[in-house]
Subunit: 361 residues, 2 copies
């Protein structure tokens, strides 16, 4: 039977707590669906700085290289905020991992779950319409990695600079994935750019228009980033797939996550062209609630389901996890972040949420 190697990187804050529940659920599916998961644990982020002096130690990187996929928790916290930007857990772990494994394709789904509309910070009539969007973000190009990047000069004339750069092939491959995602959804791609100011956006728009010709069944719209942040708030239900550069995807994906009001439910996928991927919750390490056993593990468990789907092609197992999560939520079991006074059951702990889901596999 199939055997998959997973590098497990729980990280900081609530990472280890929610990761434990994801592993519990994965353990359940591997016996049910007849495959085996070979897990290796590695330090990453702040805990790796503390234990090994680096947010991404060589052993962790080697462990990821030896694996078929990376299940990532979250990194960062106040303890490491005094460090120089390059040494901080988020930047020092995530960016090198993305670059090293060429994880150019980042998918961040965000939707309002039925019954959870009240948690959205949007006006009731807007959140009642709901929304279901995937942000398809280019993750290894643009201003994040573009060269030159640096600082020079002195005194008042001292300057610091970064380069926003996109190559045709980079735009083309992420655009294709955007159109393919739209084909399996509602058939709309909205490409986000700033083509009225940026040369990189002008090329972006051109290439996206060319790629669109191969997907006549998909509707393509273009929108400027400033207008996109407005339209998302005014009527998020108009969007299906939002196709974004690295920087604009960073902004748009966070905005749409906040608009759901239930960030604890949002997973994210970063893939390379070999199907190797890194899977992580959208929410962050939440140091304020870490160690209390109250964090919502659903985003981490959903991330594990997406790993089964995208890296291992174990669709049935992925669906089983997603169904178990839907059942748990629709039966009224919620962790504190999504708890309402009129809920059927008392507030559930992280462990209880994990057990409800594992038991429903």
């Amino acid at each position: 039977s199939a055997n998959y190697k997973v590098a497990v990187l729980p990280g900081d804050g609530i990472g280890p707590e929610v990761m434990a529940e994801a592993l519990k659920v994965l353990d359940k599916v591997q016996s049910e669906f007849g495959f085996t998961l070979e897990l290796s644990h590695f330090d990453v982020g702040g805990v790796a700085i503390d234990n090994h002096g680096s947010p991404l130690p060589a052993a962790t990187l080697a462990g990821c290289e030896a694996a078929d996929a990376v299940l990532f928790g979250s990194v960062g916290g106040p303890k490491w905020e005094h460090l120089a930007p390059n040494d901080q857990p988020e930047r020092g772990a995530l960016l090198p991992l993305r670059g090293h494994f060429k994880l150019f394709c980042n998918m961040r789904p965000a939707r309002i779950y039925e019954g959870l509309e009240d948690f959205s910070p949007l006006r009731a009539d807007i959140s009642a319409r709901g929304f279901d969007i995937v942000c398809m973000r280019e993750l290894t190009g643009g201003i994040y990695f573009g060269q030159p990047k640096g600082r020079e000069g002195e005194g008042a004339q001292e300057k610091a600079f970064d380069t926003e750069v996109y190559h045709r092939y980079e735009i083309e491959r992420i655009a294709r994935l955007g159109f393919e995602a739209a084909q399996g959804r509602r058939g709309i791609v909205t490409s986000v750019d700033k083509a009225n100011v940026l040369q990189a956006s002008i090329l972006w728009r051109e290439v996206v228009n060319e790629v669109a010709k191969d997907y006549p069944d998909v509707t393509l719209n273009h929108i400027y980033i400033d207008n996109a942040t407005m339209q998302l708030i005014k009527d998020p239900s108009q969007f299906d797939v939002m196709l974004c550069s690295n920087l604009f995807g960073d902004i748009i994906s966070d905005e749409m996550a906040m608009l759901t009001g239930s960030m604890g439910l949002l997973p994210s996928v970063s893939l390379n062209d070999q199907g190797f991927g890194l899977y992580e919750p959208a929410g962050g390490s939440a140091p304020d609630i870490a160690g209390k056993g109250i964090a919502n593990p659903v985003a981490q468990i959903l991330s594990a389901a997406l790993m089964l789907r995208y890296s291992f092609k174990e669709e049935a197992a992925a669906l089983a996890i997603e169904r178990a999560i839907s059942e748990t939520l629709s039966e009224g079991y919620f962790s504190g972040d999504l708890y309402k006074a009129d809920a059927k059951h008392p507030v559930q702990t992280t462990v209880q949420m994990g057990e409800h889901i594992a038991n429903r596999i």
Copy 2:
């Protein structure tokens, strides 16, 4: 008595209609407050393309140079959208004007007016808390104007690039204005950057921290752009002055404008270090309602008030206009964009709104 020269650039769409009302109000204050305004009208934007072949004709630029301030309407519309980005009204008029007159300081206030909370797209409990924010945006630097900017190569390797660059002096002067604005307000500056990724942001943060030492009465916070778009939605009332680079200010100012739900009330100011300024409404040319006489002229009239305040130091006249606007709104006179079923008066036209305000000077 003082005489001020104003270049009036109504532009496209609703621009000419709302400009007519601003001029009506300015005419009223000049007699009341004992100064004279010498107005010269010039084409800009799409209408200038149609009449003179360029969105910013030489005569318009010369007219602005001969003036003490520019009162700008709005530019753009579907008629000119097929043009190359560089030739389009928005880009072809606004960016050269900003660059030519070195209008590095852009202030965009956004607030929820009492009684208009329902128009905000935010959940009722969030909009009920209200907010009152000024986006202090650097307007002549960053990735908008940074060099090199271009395109090279062929085939799959063809690339397009832009340069995000900030000099210490550019950051320092806009930061000072941000801190000064906060001193006259609630004393909080939130500086928006992406210092976990961008070198330009690392310098930005350093310089802002240094400038902050001269303003010990102001609280300084730093926030990443992605988190800023989230926090604005979650709780806009936490912000006072948001200090932004050119690109991040473009995004943040539009997001906050949308969050008010009353974009027709928002003016904007772009200044150079001589006090020369360009004053324009935040909303855009709104081609869908142009020519119908229904657009809200308040943002244009407020822009005129800010011109009196910032470029001409006619504080009393500026206050008189602002008071007349407040009275008009609080007496229940609204154009269609802000009309509610339970309003005291029927929907007011653009001209009626202008008259209410002029009559209350």
